[in-house]
Subunit: 80 residues, 2 copies
């Protein structure tokens, strides 16, 4: 079973990487971009077949390692 | 209109960051993880309202700045 985890900065947390991308886009002539935020996506290939326990496993991974829950949100997507 | 771009390494391209996460998970006691790949997700808030031209705009951004198309794939998702 494959899982995809999105880790994004909470709104209100300054995102310098996103700001840098925004500035770079503007200087390349791409107007009309109001805001840019950058996050991470982590794709896991798990041996676990049961969706519920896979989700619980990935949630534990997020809480312990993948996300800094003080400043980041995470979202888990299971695929097949 | 909001757009979300996923930038992931092409398969076959070595992903040391993903490998490091895999090792860290294993040393934390999370077994059953076959493979980990890490990518980026970039969220853009565009003034463009028309989905077709928004997609074309974001595609140009990906080709020029957001992704290194030699080693990375990108996927564009438009939201509302």
């Amino acid at each position: 079973m494959r899982a995809r985890v999105h880790v994004t900065l909470k709104s209100g947390v300054l995102d310098p990487q996103g700001k840098a991308i925004g500035h770079a886009l503007a200087s390349l002539g791409f107007g009309g971009v109001n805001e840019v935020r950058q996050g991470k996506v982590i794709e896991l290939d798990l041996t676990e077949k049961d969706p519920e326990s896979a989700r619980a496993q990935v949630k534990a991974m997020c809480e312990k390692l993948l996300a800094n829950t003080v400043i980041e949100n995470y979202a888990i997507e299971l695929q097949g």
